[in-house]
């Protein structure tokens, strides 16, 4: 009995002691780690720190190797620069101070900016460009969406500051593809593994305005201004990119002042935007329309292979209501695949106007008769039941799906909706294993060429698979390529006319809204702007006051 009691006493004491020790050590750890980032998110009155901006992302920055696609774009943009950049005024010089294009449109000669070094001191010159280009080319298979890699004939450094690229065919969007965040950005050759970047990199050294100082996986990353930056240095000397996966918690953190800005379409839903745009001490910004949010229908599907059914669905969707009801007017209704403002897309097309009568009569015409007891149309005993998949991680897609499900019942179409996590959802799209699903155009500056170019490639998105049931699919895909390699503006426009008209008439896409980029932020953050690409976050242009 005595022995037993002693042991139990010891045990209780032991547990208490261990818990105490751990409790103390964890408390101590908390203090040290909070002190090294200035503890801006702490309680009490805050002094405005004008040197530091706390940005937030929904996941870790992951692998920032600029030549592959596994990292967060905002972070890659801070570290790595390209030869040219896209601005609202078009293509502008960046690491190339200017360039020449041969008359046949096949040879591009870049004059490299002098006096630029990577942040590890390695000189940036034409040889560094060549090494990076080679590294990208080594991973040819990964760049399936990128026409410029497929059309690339040769490239080389002519001299220290001249770099030349030769194409097999003229390809007008080349400069745009060189400007977008990946893969044509430059990392110090010192970071290459086995002379290339295909198998990873052992450092993240670029020429950009910021350098990555610390990364605590899944917690936060710290970017400090690059002391040796060749151009004008940004106002904010330190950017802390926190990771907060949950939508609402992010909004709460902004409200509490733990973070300064939330940026991006996927990060802010319409309700939150509305709330913060009215909240005192906060501001909200909205970009111009960027990309088209749409549905894509699989033309090889048993039911959807009939163009009448596809047109009926197009006519049965009330885009105004989606725009107002779901997006609070943040996104404007879209009646065409690509907005008229997109290059080459100012083509006259007859809009599908919301009309349930039209939709019903199209379905009647296609032989789908209403079964009054179930409220679902039938043909040869088969009900009009269509599967729709959506990305369960996206709040808006889920809402739209549920909304559409209700709406489609009005025309006797049963929409069975299934949400899947992002990875399987994307796999399903690429494999073409869907009837209806969501799709989005790539947005400026990728539109129209990357979006249309992607249609020609299996396994980029779902477009290729969905178009396989179209009669003129081969002609469509050939014409897309012809438009790219055409050097004659009028001819090129004619090709685009055909592509856009054909896609519109076949109605395999249901444009829903034009997506706009958005940001909500603490009002101390100034100059919140949007780059042409929705994937870039112009953190370098912001300042705090």
């Amino acid at each position: 009995m005595l022995f037993k009691n002693k042991i139990s006493k010891l045990l209780v004491m032991g547990i208490l002691l261990i818990s105490l020790l751990v409790g103390c050590s964890s408390g101590g750890k908390g203090e040290t780690s909070s002190s090294d980032i200035n503890g801006n998110g702490n309680n009490g009155p805050k002094e405005i720190n004008t040197d530091e901006l706390i940005y937030v992302n929904f996941r870790d920055i992951r692998d920032l190797n600029p030549h592959i696609y596994g990292g967060e774009l905002f972070a890659q943009n801070l570290l790595f620069e390209g030869l040219v950049m896209i601005t609202d005024e078009g293509i502008q010089p960046w690491l190339a101070k200017d360039w020449d294009i041969s008359d046949d449109g096949r040879t591009y000669t870049f004059h490299i900016r002098q006096g630029v070094t990577f942040s590890d001191g390695h000189k940036f010159d034409a040889h560094a460009v060549e090494a990076n280009m080679q590294a990208v080319y080594d991973n040819y298979d990964r760049h399936g969406w990128l026409e410029s890699i497929r059309l690339l004939d040769s490239f080389s450094a002519i001299d220290e500051y001249t770099f030349e690229m030769k194409l097999k065919e003229p390809y007008y969007p080349l400069l745009t593809e060189l400007a977008v965040t990946r893969p044509f950005r430059f990392i110090s050759p010192n970071c290459f593994i086995n002379g290339t970047t295909k198998d990873g990199v052992d450092g993240l050294i670029g020429t950009g305005k910021y350098v990555l100082t610390e990364n605590h996986i899944d917690q936060y990353a710290i970017f400090d201004v690059n002391p040796t930056y060749w151009g004008e240095k940004p106002e904010i000397s330190r950017i802390i990119a926190k990771v907060i996966p949950d939508n609402q918690i992010r909004a709460l953190a902004l409200e509490k002042g733990e973070i300064d800005i939330i940026f991006g379409t996927n990060m802010i839903d319409a309700e939150t935007y509305l709330e913060f745009s009215q909240k005192e001490g906060f501001a909200a910004s909205l970009s111009n329309p960027l990309a088209t949010r749409m549905l894509i229908m699989n033309s090889t599907d048993e039911i959807l292979s009939d163009v009448n059914v596809r047109q009926a669905i197009n006519a049965a969707i009330n885009k105004e209501e989606i725009s107002e009801g779901i997006f609070n007017g943040l996104e404007t209704p879209a009646n065409r695949l690509l907005a008229r403002t997109v290059p080459y897309c100012d083509v006259d097309l007859e809009d599908y106007i919301y009309s349930l009568d039209k939709a019903n009569s199209l379905l009647e015409e296609a032989g789908w008769k209403m079964n009054e007891t179930t409220g679902i149309r039938e043909k040869d005993g088969m009900p009009l039941d269509v599967q729709m998949h959506y990305n369960a991680d996206s709040v808006t897609e889920k809402t739209i799906s549920e909304y559409l499900q209700g709406e489609m019942m009005e025309i006797g179409l049963k929409l069975t909706i299934t949400g899947e996590e992002e990875q399987s959802y994307r796999d399903r799209m690429k494999a073409g294993d869907f009837s209806i699903t969501f799709n989005i155009s790539w947005g400026t500056p990728y539109d129209p060429h990357s979006f249309l170019g992607g249609m020609r490639m299996p396994a980029v998105y779902g477009d290729y698979a969905a178009q396989q049931g179209l009669k003129e699919v081969k002609k469509l895909h050939d014409t897309i390529l012809k438009a790219f390699i055409s050097t004659d503006e009028i001819q090129r426009q004619a090709y685009y006319d055909y592509i856009l008209t054909y896609l519109h008439e076949e109605a395999i896409y249901v444009p829903l809204t034009f997506e706009r980029n958005r940001a909500i932020y603490n009002e101390k953050v100034k100059n919140v702007t949007f780059n042409p690409s929705q994937y870039e976050v112009p953190l370098d242009k912001m300042y705090i006051k």
Partner: protein, 311 residues
Amino acid sequence: MGKYIIKRILIVLPMMLAVSFIAFVLINLIPAEPAEVALRVNDIIPTEEAIEGMREELGLNKPYFQRYFDWLRNVLRLDFGNSYVNKNRTVIGEISRSLPATLELATVSLFIVIFVSIPIGVLCAVFKDSIFDRIVRLLIFIGTAMPNYWIGILLIWLFAVKLEVLPTGGNKEEGAIILPAIALSLTYISTYVRLIRNNMLENMTENYVFYAKVRGLKERKIILKHVLRNSLQSSITALGMSVVQLVSGTVVIENIFSWPGVGRLCISSIFNRDYPVIQAYILMMGILFIFCNLIVDIIHHKLDPRLHEVM
């Protein structure tokens, strides 16, 4: 006694083997081809050759049991291979990176559980059927019936948004651990208050308490010295088991509070189909469970002489 411990330890080995086999077998429940998944998560077009190449790389074309033993051999060297998603990160690296945060959270929660449930449980037993006891019992019922994710959200809403006293999440701010630890511990507090209360009441009806009373000892002394001690013994074994429950139960809480632990790693691996990470997570939890079981059993055995005869 020593015999029992040896026997008990010997059982652990086949158990671990079986657990490892289940963790391995689970991969085969996947409706898709793992090689294809590994390609797709890296945006590589899964052509026939690419799949074949990846099967080769992952060793999927070997016979089933050979694959298991290869895997097991690597696992014994703590080599779980590399993550599918971040190919340059090892699985063991990912887990050892996130485990400390989870352990920290679980320990603080355990601390809270012990320090809250023991006094409340004792008070409830001493003042059985008083208003205090009734209120606590009601709260306990609510505590066990509330989904802990709801508790988490309510806590965030109350303390972080309305009162602005604590951060919403993350683990670098001061006091960030408080809310998740409370959210995690509430369910267990309910369980243990109930357990301790019942143990105490049961012990109070035992003969020795009666004898002590007869001998004229003060009631408070009896409670503190004998009843509490005896009740705690049985509670401790239960507490030991809940260590694993706490570690594995952090999944939801970690996701709500952006706590960078293994639970969040597990969920993101599920969403990204990072099978090697899921596999390692399952195995780790299974083995942790077995060992906690073992320790608890041995302690239990030492504490309770009645068990000696049975064995």
